[in-house]
Symmetry: D2
Subunit: 202 residues, 4 copies
């Protein structure tokens, strides 16, 4: 059965402005495809995602349709640039909206996200990728996602650098290799969790 994945690109920029985060999403998409997984990329900045921590913040809120696509996906990719050493404000907003899953449980107390796999993509001019991973993993695990071994691919330049990932002369080998690992592990984990869902806590 084909698996589906959704990447939430948390760049601060609206389309069609070029986004390094978008480039890394595409690269992960290629890797996932070789495992039979289709990756859909949603640029959050193009939708009016309202501030809040509920499933639907009412009129004009762009989140509900994105939320539906997250619920349909087996793998959720949080893709974010780094600003001041941290995930973008747009990424934090996405995590806040995911917080609503905490109160959506089935008859046996399991969150609707149980069984879904969460991974992280991070790009920045410099420094902050490990801090991003920590924050995003914590949010993902809190709201019911499972994080595979080596669940993050990232690139950042040297300290105080200003080069963009999309302006590099080709993708560094280590990034390529990590993207392969993230895709392989996410696809495998989603597959076995689908075949054997988490039981109710007892």
């Amino acid at each position: 059965m084909p698996r589906t994945a959704i990447a939430l690109n948390c760049t601060l920029k609206r389309s069609p402005e070029p986004s390094s985060t978008d480039l890394m999403c595409s690269q992960l998409g290629e890797e996932l495809r070789s495992h039979g997984v289709e990756l859909e990329v949603v640029r959050i900045a193009d939708h009016d995602v309202a501030p809040g921590v509920s499933a639907d913040e009412g009129e004009g809120d762009g989140w509900p349709p994105i939320r539906e696509r997250i619920l349909d996906a087996d793998i959720v990719v949080i893709a974010t640039p780094i600003w001041l050493g941290n995930p973008s404000s747009t990424c934090r907003r996405v995590l806040e909206r995911l917080d609503a899953f905490l109160s959506e449980t089935d008859d046996e107390g399991r969150m609707v996200t149980f069984g879904k796999v969460g991974v992280v993509l991070t790009v920045g001019n410099e420094d902050g990728a490990h801090a991003v991973a920590g924050q995003v993993y914590q949010a993902l695990a809190d709201v019911g996602f499972t994080v595979p071994a080596n669940g993050q691919a990232y690139w950042v330049g040297e300290a105080m650098g200003s080069t963009d990932y999309r302006d590099l002369d080709g993708t560094p080998d280590k990034v390529r290799q990590t993207l392969k690992t993230v895709a392989t592990n996410a696809a495998h984990l989603a597959s076995i969790l689908d075949a054997s869902p988490y039981p109710a806590a007892s």
Copy 2:
């Protein structure tokens, strides 16, 4: 088949000083037992774990036997108190020693930890549990562990409080419930990863 788990208690205090972290380890142990998993608890402060980032730092280093027991376990529990809003220095030392797994890969590039599940227990007088989860999840995923949905149980008191977890009048219901979820999810995930190991990245 019985699964095995090891908890690394990262309290700053040596035995037999009482440790709130130890109490939460025991409570998780009870929950894991109901899933057929035996939990062994190792108090790091009782062993002379040397500073460093290799598998063996030489004479007098207490890490190598602990490392062996980690390699034998299906589930690894990082259990830490909170100091100044962060994991203990002992916890950071344990994570630094786990860093050596980054260079121990099999013929197909998989870390020796692939297939193992990592979870977190955290206790403090006040504030810091989410930051601990972030740091520990990031380290665990980096060095090859898989983190289950809701992979942390924790307790902290009100802001600037000074009550110890082991001095509470009974364990709060929410903590009990979370311990059940952590145990259920960790045991399940370890079981399906054992049956279906991560393939080599491709």
Copy 3:
């Protein structure tokens, strides 16, 4: 000479929804007043602060007038609720906008913020205040603010709690005391930095 302070309330909620963060801002305002400092509170959610990292993101951007008031103030208070153990997305957006100060330097290379004091207020149902302090202090120091001793006041409830700060039966003594210290130290530090500005680096 009277000193001025501005608090940026980073709650996710628009006025007139009640905000615990707002309550703590008012309380700090009272303390600052006793040191001759007037505190103005701006609720960021009431303004359309655009995503971005420049001083002015163009048409419809609510940031430029706020930025002017920051430049007029001697003390800047970043006041934020906690969501998933971290500052709100609105707070991260404010920090991103402050990032523009990095490129606004005087003839001798000093940022326009040099001499201003930055402090932090944090409220949450539970856990995350130390992580908030870390992130906000780092951003403030990076963009040119000076952080006084004991530069944060905060309140959070017990683990997994759901009580709001504004629903407490009175303000805890330790919070009152910390607010006094934050106000005293911020006012003093702003005063001496005004009398003796940082020299150009040499």
Copy 4:
């Protein structure tokens, strides 16, 4: 009057092993000297600093003499390498020991550290400097230090890099420039805080 500074080098390695952190300490020392400040560097790994959170953990504890030198200094430099995106375990141990200052207050409730300035030096093969700054600033401000504008100098290489700072072909200009700023601002701030100490909170 000459001011004094102490750098706590939190490398995991004992002397005489070369330390990149040590190199950056020396470089800051040169800059501080031009402001009339003598910097003493203490390599923590050479002393048996015991785990704990008190001023003196008893027999064999190497902390008490270091603590005395901290109390004698006007400026305290926390200098740490990065491991797994975070300050070293040795750095966390130092921060835990500084925690004892929380309970050492004068007749008017001021910590013994009030008036001292704290800054951060950070070196790593890759990624983590902003997270280090956040953690260390938070600890420093909590225990009574004041953090100057631009209170950190750091260097890290490109993502997943393995170059050491001390093996670079010369110190990058931006690092040199930041070291100058850190030294200038720390010396100035210590000077004005010495002339005008924080008053008691009121």
